[in-house]
Symmetry: C2
Subunit: 423 residues, 2 copies
């Protein structure tokens, strides 16, 4: 790591993070955004709602990082004690900011439309230390605050994700870009399927050895696939671009056999782009995934252009009534079988009148196993009227993870079908 990079620490405040009641998604977003402008996040720290721990974290992170970003602890309720502490830490006193107060009144009047609900404790959100620069929060009541101390920058942001994101994008990033001539951090990522980490590492051993020190290769297993990421950290955008443009195609060639996509993009996006380009439509017929595949496919804005709908046939009678699965199939090979998912494809195509269909039937656990079909036995299929491809999965995790992997393996199977359809 080049030492000239501005470095950052992210501090998240809240007992809920330490007792495991909340999963921290804010830090990942902040890290991505800081990275984009060449600030290297060296540490993330979560502490509870305790003055001593917060103070301690501020001291510690300021020792090595140029920027300290703090989220959480700014709500209107009594369990929040961050603001008085910041005031004390940076040596100011709390004063009511009139423009923030006006904004809070506006929100209650015009946006929430309940001006009568505006309480003194809401107004107190307009109180800020007089030594900070106020960062107005367009969509919430708690403003961001910027402090400077001994050459370091401290920024405190509300923990509500939508408010934090808007503040980061519209105020924090432009401000920091002006503050530092930042270095260059660039990533290029591809997605593979069908080979484990070890097999890939073997195939890439020589490639890794000759990488220059400014380039790192990382293996990121996910959903039964493995992402490979090349990262450049250095002084020059141009040098980084040049290195990545040269090395990335080499990497692609070495993993050609398992290559799914040459960018870090969800399969649901690749599938959506393909459907739009080829003017085709899509639906799903799901049993054990309970709508999860449809949910992922429709998470993309504009998916209504190609996604028609789904039949979630959790009960066998729905498989028969709506998807035309044969009673005989259920009685002989059962609902978790290649024959059943094939029939679900054809039944789904008929009732939803789409060009493509994905289907799935399996046992995700913990119950439902039989001697021949243990938990984790799942059949998936992707098909058209003319052609259906199937795959059997043997999953070994808990229900939640089995569902996620099944969902993504189903999209992977569809993507394989679409790619052969193109050729």
């Amino acid at each position: 790591m080049a030492t000239h990079l501005p470095t950052a620490s992210i501090i998240t405040i809240g007992d809920e993070l330490l007792i495991g009641q909340t999963i921290d998604t804010n830090s990942a977003f902040i890290a991505q955004e800081l990275n984009r402008i060449g600030i290297w996040v060296r540490r993330r720290v979560a502490v509870g709602d305790q003055a001593e721990e917060i103070r301690n974290a501020l001291d510690q992170e300021a020792m090595k990082s140029d920027l300290i970003l703090i989220t959480g602890g700014l709500g209107p309720t009594a369990d929040d004690m961050t603001k008085p502490l910041l005031c004390d830490y940076f040596g100011g006193k709390l004063v009511r900011d009139e423009s923030v107060l006006k904004h809070i009144e506006y929100l209650f009047q015009e946006v929430y439309r309940r001006p009568g609900a505006l309480l003194e404790r809401n107004k107190r959100q307009a109180d800020v230390p007089d030594v900070c620069e106020v960062l107005p929060n367009a969509i919430g009541t708690a403003p961001g605050m910027l402090f400077r101390k001994e050459g370091k920058i401290f920024i405190s942001l509300p923990g509500v994700p939508a408010e934090m994101k808007k503040l980061v994008a519209e105020q924090v990033l432009p401000l920091l870009s002006k503050e530092w001539i930042t270095a260059s951090i660039q990533h290029k990522t591809l997605i593979t399927a069908g080979a484990g980490e070890s097999v890939l590492a073997e195939a890439l051993a020589q490639f890794e050895q000759k990488l220059p020190p400014s380039i790192k290769l990382a293996y990121l297993p996910k959903y039964g696939m493995v992402k490979l990421r090349l990262t450049y950290v250095g002084e020059s955008d141009l040098v980084g671009l040049d290195l990545l443009n040269r090395l990335f195609p080499e990497l692609e060639a070495l993993v050609q056999e398992w290559l799914i996509a040459s960018e870090d993009v969800g399969l649901e996006i690749l599938i959506g782009e393909w459907m739009k380009k080829n003017n085709k439509t899509l639906g799903t017929a799901e049993s054990c995934t309970g709508g999860s595949i449809a949910q992922v496919l429709t998470s993309i804005p504009g998916s209504s252009q190609y996604f028609i709908g789904s039949v979630v046939s959790y009960a066998n009678r729905i498989k028969v009534d709506l998807l035309n699965v044969q009673q005989e199939t259920l009685l002989t090979v059962g609902a978790v079988s290649e024959q059943a998912v094939k029939e679900m494809i054809q039944g789904g195509l008929q009732i939803l009148r789409t060009d493509f269909m994905v289907s799935v039937s399996g046992i995700l656990g913990p119950g439902g196993a039989t001697p021949e079909k243990p938990v984790g036995t799942v059949w998936i299929a992707a098909g058209t009227k003319e052609k259906t491809i199937t795959r059997k999965l043997n999953l070994q995790f808990d229900r939640t993870r089995n569902t996620v992997i099944t969902t993504h393996q189903s999209l992977l199977l569809l993507w394989e079908l679409l790619r052969t359809n193109e050729g």
Copy 2:
């Protein structure tokens, strides 16, 4: 906070956490489990794959915590450098552990069923520092490791969630329980809907003031609801139980008007228990949520006892063809209307033959708005043949958050219907 509690720090290792490519869910699980046996997690720290930062974090956390739990950095690929570092840090040398090696061979032979794929780099996962106690990993190749140094305990665990969880539950917790006479940490949580944090805080101002120092009240807003959590941290299980048993009913009474559930349990679980108890069946008819409600309802093991299936009618023609929504409704008031979700309830009940149905139709954004129906306009309904209740939501977030809130508000509406059905 009582000072006699054993305290812990969780250190997660991996660049992917610092550039925001991965969201850390492991820490929340570990924190919950440690809490359960009376160990207070005082800090969580994430650092990158850099020796100096890892070493620095170990030093820092060991200064104030009794237990340091480390996850990640144990995979078979070259970007992992944790093990040699631990070896150096604790002053040992790497030796191959024969029983771990046997287990790895067993996994490749019997579980993965590809013995030929066993490479030297997989075997190297059996190499452990000779100063550690090995914690066998039943379902993966990288074992856990326990070190002791200057009265502190350090435990290194693999980052794969399923493996980490099994190791924590079956080995780490029993081991730590023996090590320390741990203090008592107890939580009781209830769920409210219909009042914001400020309104609740106002209603609870007096209650909060008279809480003893060993009890804390926290406000946790989620999905348009607010959870309220009472936490006891102290020396005695009995005192804690007694305090919570006395204070929790007071809290319940004070928020009676907005009380949804007196435990921290998902609405999907409450609904599932109700369906089983009353021997009723359930389905969903979803437009904009794309299967998300069905997915949440079927995330519960055993949901096949009452959940029959869904029609995801993303395209309007599916609303007409399968859910019997009237063309006239679509032409006059449109698909995003009270009339449409009411018709979807009746159509869904008919085609899926269930006792209860949830339906939803709306505009989650970013596209799809009209002058009369801005982004965030969503109609939800819950009903039986005899009675349907509806609600209009005006959401103000991005597509993902709008989907999650709509899903949970739909479950909330169903829960309201079920509770009136009981009376």
